[in-house]
Protein backbone atom coordinates (compact mmCIF):
# COMPACT_ATOMS: atom_id res chain seq x y z
CA UNK A 1 0.00 0.00 0.00
CA UNK A 2 1.21 3.50 -0.80
CA UNK A 3 1.83 6.09 1.93
CA UNK A 4 -1.12 8.03 3.31
CA UNK A 5 0.38 11.29 2.03
CA UNK A 6 0.62 9.91 -1.50
CA UNK A 7 -2.95 8.64 -1.28
CA UNK A 8 -4.21 12.01 -0.05
CA UNK A 9 -2.36 13.76 -2.88
CA UNK A 10 -3.91 11.44 -5.49
CA UNK A 11 -7.36 12.12 -4.02
CA UNK A 12 -6.72 15.88 -3.91
CA UNK A 13 -5.62 15.93 -7.56
CA UNK A 14 -8.70 13.89 -8.57
CA UNK A 15 -11.00 16.21 -6.62
CA UNK A 16 -9.33 19.34 -7.99
CA UNK A 17 -9.37 18.22 -11.62
CA UNK A 18 -12.96 17.03 -11.38
CA UNK A 19 -14.01 20.43 -10.06
CA UNK A 20 -12.01 22.17 -12.80
CA UNK A 21 -13.91 20.29 -15.53
CA UNK A 22 -17.21 21.39 -13.97
CA UNK A 23 -15.95 24.93 -13.44
CA UNK A 24 -14.66 25.42 -17.00
CA UNK A 25 -17.85 26.70 -18.70
CA UNK A 26 -18.57 29.09 -15.82
CA UNK A 27 -14.99 30.39 -15.83
CA UNK A 28 -15.18 30.93 -19.60
CA UNK A 29 -18.66 32.42 -19.92
CA UNK A 30 -19.87 33.15 -16.40
CA UNK A 31 -18.33 36.59 -15.90
CA UNK A 32 -20.48 38.75 -18.10
CA UNK A 33 -23.43 38.17 -20.38
CA UNK A 34 -22.62 34.96 -22.29
CA UNK A 35 -22.73 35.15 -26.12
CA UNK A 36 -26.14 34.37 -27.64
CA UNK A 37 -24.75 31.31 -29.39
CA UNK A 38 -23.55 29.87 -26.08
CA UNK A 39 -26.93 30.44 -24.45
CA UNK A 40 -28.59 28.77 -27.42
CA UNK A 41 -26.29 25.74 -27.06
CA UNK A 42 -27.04 25.60 -23.34
CA UNK A 43 -30.72 25.57 -24.09
CA UNK A 44 -30.79 22.84 -26.74
CA UNK A 45 -27.88 20.73 -25.47
CA UNK A 46 -29.70 18.86 -22.66
CA UNK A 47 -31.93 16.94 -25.07
CA UNK A 48 -28.87 15.77 -27.01
CA UNK A 49 -26.84 15.07 -23.86
CA UNK A 50 -29.57 12.92 -22.29
CA UNK A 51 -29.69 10.80 -25.45
CA UNK A 52 -25.89 10.48 -25.39
CA UNK A 53 -25.98 9.58 -21.66
CA UNK A 54 -28.41 6.73 -22.34
CA UNK A 55 -25.93 5.44 -24.94
CA UNK A 56 -23.09 6.07 -22.47
CA UNK A 57 -24.78 3.86 -19.87
CA UNK A 58 -25.21 1.08 -22.42
CA UNK A 59 -21.80 1.49 -24.07
CA UNK A 60 -20.38 -1.66 -22.52
CA UNK A 61 -23.27 -3.81 -23.76
CA UNK A 62 -22.01 -6.33 -26.29
CA UNK A 63 -24.19 -6.62 -29.38
CA UNK A 64 -22.53 -9.90 -30.31
CA UNK A 65 -24.10 -11.80 -27.43
CA UNK A 66 -27.85 -11.79 -27.20
CA UNK A 67 -27.72 -12.52 -23.45
CA UNK A 68 -26.09 -9.10 -23.00
CA UNK A 69 -28.07 -6.71 -25.15
CA UNK A 70 -31.49 -8.32 -24.99
CA UNK A 71 -32.08 -7.77 -21.23
CA UNK A 72 -30.81 -4.19 -21.52
CA UNK A 73 -33.05 -3.59 -24.52
CA UNK A 74 -36.12 -5.14 -22.86
CA UNK A 75 -35.53 -3.29 -19.58
CA UNK A 76 -35.13 0.06 -21.38
CA UNK A 77 -38.34 -0.62 -23.31
CA UNK A 78 -40.19 -1.53 -20.11
CA UNK A 79 -38.90 1.63 -18.40
CA UNK A 80 -39.96 3.83 -21.31
CA UNK A 81 -43.34 2.07 -21.72
CA UNK A 82 -44.12 2.34 -17.99
CA UNK A 83 -43.19 6.00 -18.13
CA UNK A 84 -45.32 6.77 -21.17
CA UNK A 85 -48.20 4.93 -19.50
CA UNK A 86 -48.12 6.12 -15.87
CA UNK A 87 -45.57 8.92 -15.90
CA UNK A 88 -44.38 8.01 -12.44
CA UNK A 89 -40.58 8.22 -12.10
CA UNK A 90 -40.29 5.70 -9.31
CA UNK A 91 -42.54 3.14 -10.96
CA UNK A 92 -40.72 3.41 -14.29
CA UNK A 93 -37.22 3.28 -12.84
CA UNK A 94 -38.03 0.70 -10.16
CA UNK A 95 -39.96 -1.51 -12.59
CA UNK A 96 -37.26 -1.36 -15.26
CA UNK A 97 -34.45 -2.01 -12.79
CA UNK A 98 -36.16 -4.96 -11.10
CA UNK A 99 -36.96 -6.51 -14.47
CA UNK A 100 -33.34 -6.06 -15.52
CA UNK A 101 -32.00 -7.61 -12.32
CA UNK A 102 -34.37 -10.59 -12.59
CA UNK A 103 -33.46 -11.10 -16.23
CA UNK A 104 -29.70 -11.08 -15.81
CA UNK A 105 -29.75 -13.03 -12.56
CA UNK A 106 -32.30 -15.69 -13.50
CA UNK A 107 -32.94 -15.87 -17.23
CA UNK A 108 -29.85 -14.71 -19.13
CA UNK A 109 -27.26 -16.04 -16.72
Amino acid sequence: MISATHAILIIAVTAGCTFLTRLAPFALFGRKEPPKAVLYIGEVLPAAVIAILVIYCLRGTSFMEMSKWLPAFIACSITAALHVWKRNNLLSIGGGTICYMLMIQLIFV
Binding site: I2, V13, T18, T21, P25, Y40, P46, V49, A51, G96
Partner: protein
Protein backbone atom coordinates in the same frame (compact mmCIF):
# COMPACT_ATOMS: atom_id res chain seq x y z
CA UNK B 1 -50.33 25.68 -16.02
CA UNK B 2 -47.39 27.86 -15.19
CA UNK B 3 -44.11 26.10 -14.79
CA UNK B 4 -40.61 27.25 -14.12
CA UNK B 5 -38.16 24.97 -15.83
CA UNK B 6 -34.71 24.40 -14.38
CA UNK B 7 -33.11 25.88 -17.47
CA UNK B 8 -35.56 28.67 -18.07
CA UNK B 9 -34.03 32.09 -17.84
CA UNK B 10 -37.17 34.18 -17.74
CA UNK B 11 -38.38 33.60 -14.24
CA UNK B 12 -37.17 36.77 -12.60
CA UNK B 13 -40.72 37.58 -11.58
CA UNK B 14 -40.95 34.30 -9.69
CA UNK B 15 -37.72 35.05 -7.89
CA UNK B 16 -38.87 38.55 -7.18
CA UNK B 17 -42.09 37.30 -5.63
CA UNK B 18 -40.74 34.31 -3.76
CA UNK B 19 -36.97 34.58 -3.58
CA UNK B 20 -36.93 37.39 -1.05
CA UNK B 21 -39.36 35.80 1.30
CA UNK B 22 -37.45 33.70 3.75
CA UNK B 23 -40.13 31.51 5.07
CA UNK B 24 -39.72 28.08 6.56
CA UNK B 25 -42.79 26.79 4.75
CA UNK B 26 -41.17 27.76 1.44
CA UNK B 27 -38.06 25.86 2.48
CA UNK B 28 -40.16 22.86 3.42
CA UNK B 29 -42.05 22.90 0.14
CA UNK B 30 -38.81 23.12 -1.83
CA UNK B 31 -37.20 20.34 0.19
CA UNK B 32 -40.25 18.13 -0.20
CA UNK B 33 -40.36 18.64 -3.94
CA UNK B 34 -36.59 18.06 -4.27
CA UNK B 35 -36.78 14.92 -2.14
CA UNK B 36 -39.50 13.42 -4.33
CA UNK B 37 -37.67 14.18 -7.54
CA UNK B 38 -34.42 12.79 -6.12
CA UNK B 39 -35.75 9.37 -5.10
CA UNK B 40 -34.56 7.58 -8.27
CA UNK B 41 -31.09 9.07 -7.83
CA UNK B 42 -31.19 8.11 -4.16
CA UNK B 43 -31.65 4.45 -5.06
CA UNK B 44 -28.99 4.55 -7.75
CA UNK B 45 -26.44 6.52 -5.76
CA UNK B 46 -26.79 4.51 -2.59
CA UNK B 47 -26.29 1.21 -4.39
CA UNK B 48 -23.51 2.52 -6.63
CA UNK B 49 -21.92 4.13 -3.58
CA UNK B 50 -22.04 0.84 -1.70
CA UNK B 51 -20.27 -0.83 -4.62
CA UNK B 52 -17.58 1.84 -4.45
CA UNK B 53 -17.21 1.54 -0.68
CA UNK B 54 -16.81 -2.21 -0.98
CA UNK B 55 -14.14 -1.82 -3.65
CA UNK B 56 -12.27 0.77 -1.64
CA UNK B 57 -12.42 -1.40 1.46
CA UNK B 58 -11.02 -4.31 -0.54
CA UNK B 59 -8.15 -2.06 -1.58
CA UNK B 60 -7.37 -1.51 2.11
CA UNK B 61 -8.98 1.88 2.78
CA UNK B 62 -11.49 2.34 5.58
CA UNK B 63 -14.84 4.14 5.57
CA UNK B 64 -13.12 7.40 6.62
CA UNK B 65 -11.42 7.45 3.22
CA UNK B 66 -14.68 6.57 1.49
CA UNK B 67 -16.39 9.46 3.28
CA UNK B 68 -13.80 12.07 2.33
CA UNK B 69 -13.39 10.83 -1.25
CA UNK B 70 -17.14 10.98 -1.90
CA UNK B 71 -17.29 14.38 -0.20
CA UNK B 72 -14.43 15.98 -2.15
CA UNK B 73 -14.25 14.15 -5.50
CA UNK B 74 -17.95 13.34 -5.93
CA UNK B 75 -17.65 11.61 -9.27
CA UNK B 76 -19.06 8.22 -10.19
CA UNK B 77 -16.86 6.56 -12.77
CA UNK B 78 -13.81 8.52 -11.71
CA UNK B 79 -14.02 7.28 -8.12
CA UNK B 80 -13.94 3.69 -9.32
CA UNK B 81 -10.86 4.52 -11.38
CA UNK B 82 -9.43 6.28 -8.35
CA UNK B 83 -9.40 2.97 -6.46
CA UNK B 84 -7.09 1.47 -9.06
CA UNK B 85 -4.97 4.63 -9.05
CA UNK B 86 -4.59 4.24 -5.28
CA UNK B 87 -3.73 0.55 -5.39
CA UNK B 88 -1.31 1.11 -8.25
CA UNK B 89 0.29 4.13 -6.58
CA UNK B 90 -0.22 6.34 -9.62
CA UNK B 91 1.78 9.52 -10.20
CA UNK B 92 0.05 12.86 -9.75
CA UNK B 93 0.41 13.86 -13.39
CA UNK B 94 -1.13 10.64 -14.66
CA UNK B 95 -3.89 11.05 -12.06
CA UNK B 96 -4.63 14.52 -13.45
CA UNK B 97 -4.58 13.32 -17.08
CA UNK B 98 -6.83 10.39 -16.18
CA UNK B 99 -9.30 12.63 -14.34
CA UNK B 100 -9.49 15.14 -17.17
CA UNK B 101 -10.01 12.46 -19.79
CA UNK B 102 -12.74 10.68 -17.84
CA UNK B 103 -14.58 13.75 -16.58
CA UNK B 104 -14.14 16.08 -19.54
CA UNK B 105 -17.78 15.57 -20.53
CA UNK B 106 -18.67 17.76 -17.56
CA UNK B 107 -17.17 20.73 -19.41
CA UNK B 108 -20.34 20.87 -21.48
CA UNK B 109 -22.89 20.56 -18.71
CA UNK B 110 -22.41 24.00 -17.21
CA UNK B 111 -23.42 25.63 -20.50
CA UNK B 112 -27.07 24.96 -19.67
CA UNK B 113 -26.86 26.66 -16.28
CA UNK B 114 -24.60 29.67 -16.86
CA UNK B 115 -27.16 32.23 -15.74
CA UNK B 116 -29.28 30.10 -13.46
CA UNK B 117 -26.48 29.03 -11.14
CA UNK B 118 -25.05 32.52 -10.96
CA UNK B 119 -28.37 33.84 -9.72
CA UNK B 120 -28.18 31.41 -6.83
CA UNK B 121 -25.74 33.56 -4.84
CA UNK B 122 -24.01 31.67 -2.07
CA UNK B 123 -24.91 28.31 -3.56
CA UNK B 124 -23.17 29.17 -6.88
CA UNK B 125 -19.84 27.39 -6.18
CA UNK B 126 -21.57 24.35 -4.72
CA UNK B 127 -23.91 24.03 -7.70
CA UNK B 128 -20.87 23.99 -10.01
CA UNK B 129 -19.05 21.49 -7.81
CA UNK B 130 -21.99 19.11 -7.59
CA UNK B 131 -22.96 19.01 -11.28
CA UNK B 132 -22.72 15.26 -11.89
CA UNK B 133 -24.35 13.41 -14.79
CA UNK B 134 -27.37 12.55 -12.71
CA UNK B 135 -27.80 15.96 -11.10
CA UNK B 136 -27.43 17.59 -14.52
CA UNK B 137 -30.02 15.28 -16.05
CA UNK B 138 -32.39 15.76 -13.15
CA UNK B 139 -32.08 19.55 -13.14
CA UNK B 140 -32.65 19.65 -16.90
CA UNK B 141 -35.55 17.25 -16.71
CA UNK B 142 -37.41 18.83 -13.80
CA UNK B 143 -40.08 21.42 -14.22
CA UNK B 144 -40.44 23.16 -10.92
CA UNK B 145 -44.01 24.33 -10.31
CA UNK B 146 -44.56 28.06 -10.24
CA UNK B 147 -45.42 28.19 -6.56
CA UNK B 148 -42.21 26.49 -5.41
CA UNK B 149 -38.94 28.41 -5.06
CA UNK B 150 -36.82 27.16 -7.94
CA UNK B 151 -33.41 28.16 -6.60
CA UNK B 152 -33.86 26.51 -3.23
CA UNK B 153 -35.29 23.43 -4.90
CA UNK B 154 -32.32 23.16 -7.25
CA UNK B 155 -29.91 23.54 -4.36
CA UNK B 156 -31.73 20.89 -2.32
CA UNK B 157 -31.74 18.52 -5.29
CA UNK B 158 -27.99 18.89 -5.72
CA UNK B 159 -27.24 18.61 -2.00
CA UNK B 160 -29.55 15.64 -1.42
CA UNK B 161 -27.96 13.81 -4.34
CA UNK B 162 -24.51 14.25 -2.89
CA UNK B 163 -25.64 13.25 0.57
CA UNK B 164 -27.00 9.97 -0.89
CA UNK B 165 -23.70 9.39 -2.61
CA UNK B 166 -21.70 10.06 0.57
CA UNK B 167 -24.02 7.84 2.60
CA UNK B 168 -23.76 5.04 0.03
CA UNK B 169 -19.96 5.19 -0.24
CA UNK B 170 -19.44 5.32 3.51
CA UNK B 171 -21.98 2.61 4.23
CA UNK B 172 -20.48 0.39 1.55
CA UNK B 173 -17.07 0.56 3.18
CA UNK B 174 -18.64 -0.01 6.61
CA UNK B 175 -21.20 -2.76 6.04
CA UNK B 176 -21.13 -3.53 2.33
CA UNK B 177 -19.88 -7.02 2.98
CA UNK B 178 -23.02 -7.78 5.00
CA UNK B 179 -25.36 -7.47 2.00
CA UNK B 180 -26.58 -10.98 1.38
CA UNK B 181 -28.87 -10.65 -1.65
CA UNK B 182 -27.55 -10.51 -5.16
CA UNK B 183 -27.38 -6.87 -6.28
CA UNK B 184 -26.05 -7.63 -9.77
CA UNK B 185 -27.74 -5.29 -12.22
CA UNK B 186 -28.89 -2.68 -9.72
CA UNK B 187 -26.72 -0.15 -11.56
CA UNK B 188 -29.35 -0.26 -14.30
CA UNK B 189 -31.25 2.27 -12.14
CA UNK B 190 -29.02 5.02 -13.54
CA UNK B 191 -29.72 3.95 -17.13
CA UNK B 192 -33.42 3.84 -16.31
CA UNK B 193 -33.22 7.37 -14.84
CA UNK B 194 -31.79 8.70 -18.10
CA UNK B 195 -34.42 6.79 -20.11
CA UNK B 196 -37.17 8.37 -18.00
CA UNK B 197 -35.76 11.87 -18.43
CA UNK B 198 -35.38 11.12 -22.14
CA UNK B 199 -39.10 10.28 -22.35
CA UNK B 200 -40.06 13.40 -20.38
CA UNK B 201 -37.97 15.63 -22.61
CA UNK B 202 -39.30 13.97 -25.73
CA UNK B 203 -42.86 14.74 -24.69
CA UNK B 204 -42.19 18.34 -23.84
CA UNK B 205 -39.87 19.26 -26.69
CA UNK B 206 -41.31 21.36 -29.46
CA UNK B 207 -38.66 20.12 -31.85
CA UNK B 208 -36.97 16.74 -31.76
CA UNK B 209 -33.97 17.72 -33.84
CA UNK B 210 -31.63 18.01 -30.78
CA UNK B 211 -32.64 14.51 -29.61
CA UNK B 212 -31.95 13.00 -33.03
CA UNK B 213 -28.65 14.84 -33.14
CA UNK B 214 -27.76 13.32 -29.76
CA UNK B 215 -28.75 9.79 -30.80
CA UNK B 216 -26.97 10.08 -34.14
CA UNK B 217 -23.75 11.56 -32.77
CA UNK B 218 -23.70 9.10 -29.87
CA UNK B 219 -24.20 6.02 -32.01
CA UNK B 220 -21.87 7.06 -34.82
CA UNK B 221 -19.14 8.01 -32.37
CA UNK B 222 -19.61 4.75 -30.46
CA UNK B 223 -19.35 2.73 -33.68
CA UNK B 224 -16.27 4.56 -34.94
CA UNK B 225 -14.33 5.16 -31.73
CA UNK B 226 -15.55 2.37 -29.48
CA UNK B 227 -16.95 2.41 -25.95
CA UNK B 228 -13.95 3.86 -24.10
CA UNK B 229 -13.57 7.33 -25.56
CA UNK B 230 -16.71 7.99 -27.57
CA UNK B 231 -18.47 10.55 -25.38
CA UNK B 232 -16.31 13.63 -26.01
CA UNK B 233 -16.33 13.32 -29.83
CA UNK B 234 -20.07 12.64 -29.58
CA UNK B 235 -20.69 15.78 -27.50
CA UNK B 236 -18.42 17.89 -29.71
CA UNK B 237 -20.15 16.66 -32.85
CA UNK B 238 -23.55 17.28 -31.25
CA UNK B 239 -22.60 20.88 -30.44
CA UNK B 240 -21.34 21.35 -34.00
CA UNK B 241 -24.58 20.01 -35.44
CA UNK B 242 -26.71 22.01 -33.00
CA UNK B 243 -24.98 25.17 -34.17
CA UNK B 244 -25.39 24.13 -37.79
CA UNK B 245 -29.09 23.42 -37.24
CA UNK B 246 -29.78 26.55 -35.22
CA UNK B 247 -32.24 28.01 -37.71
CA UNK B 248 -34.50 24.95 -38.06
CA UNK B 249 -34.37 24.25 -34.32
CA UNK B 250 -35.29 27.77 -33.31
CA UNK B 251 -37.82 27.93 -36.13
CA UNK B 252 -39.40 24.72 -34.88
CA UNK B 253 -39.54 26.11 -31.38
CA UNK B 254 -41.30 29.25 -32.43
CA UNK B 255 -43.95 27.83 -34.72
CA UNK B 256 -44.15 24.39 -33.17
CA UNK B 257 -46.66 23.27 -35.80
CA UNK B 258 -47.06 20.02 -37.67
CA UNK B 259 -45.28 21.26 -40.77
CA UNK B 260 -42.00 22.10 -39.07
CA UNK B 261 -40.36 18.74 -39.65
CA UNK B 262 -40.37 19.07 -43.41
CA UNK B 263 -39.35 22.71 -43.37
CA UNK B 264 -36.59 22.09 -40.89
CA UNK B 265 -35.09 19.27 -42.93
CA UNK B 266 -34.55 21.63 -45.84
CA UNK B 267 -33.11 24.30 -43.63
CA UNK B 268 -30.90 21.74 -42.00
CA UNK B 269 -29.45 20.64 -45.32
CA UNK B 270 -28.76 24.23 -46.17
CA UNK B 271 -27.07 25.15 -42.94
CA UNK B 272 -25.11 21.90 -42.90
CA UNK B 273 -23.75 22.70 -46.30
CA UNK B 274 -22.60 26.09 -45.10
CA UNK B 275 -20.82 24.86 -42.03
CA UNK B 276 -19.54 21.52 -43.26
CA UNK B 277 -15.97 22.77 -43.57
CA UNK B 278 -15.75 23.80 -39.95
CA UNK B 279 -17.24 20.69 -38.50
CA UNK B 280 -15.66 17.41 -39.53
CA UNK B 281 -18.56 15.32 -38.25
CA UNK B 282 -21.38 17.46 -39.49
CA UNK B 283 -21.68 16.14 -43.03
CA UNK B 284 -21.70 12.41 -42.50
CA UNK B 285 -23.91 12.41 -39.49
CA UNK B 286 -26.40 14.81 -40.88
CA UNK B 287 -27.16 12.33 -43.62
CA UNK B 288 -27.71 9.60 -41.09
CA UNK B 289 -29.94 11.94 -39.15
CA UNK B 290 -32.09 12.58 -42.13
CA UNK B 291 -32.44 8.88 -42.75
CA UNK B 292 -33.73 8.42 -39.23
CA UNK B 293 -35.94 11.47 -39.08
Amino acid sequence: MLFDSGICYEDTTVDFCLGKMYDSSIMKEALKFAFKRDIPVMLGYIFMGIAFGLMLQDAGYSFVWAFFISLTCYAGTMQFVLVSLLTGGAGLLSTAVMTFSINSRHIFYGLSFLKKFKEMGKAYPYMIFSLTDETYALLCGTRIPFEIDSKKTMFFMAALNQSYWVIGCTAGALFGSLISFDTTGVDFAMTALFVVIFVDQWREAKTHIPVFIGIGCGLVSLLIIGPDNFIIPALAAAIGLLIACRRPIEGGKKSGGENTAAASDEDRKKSNGDDADEMPYAGGEAEKEEGKA
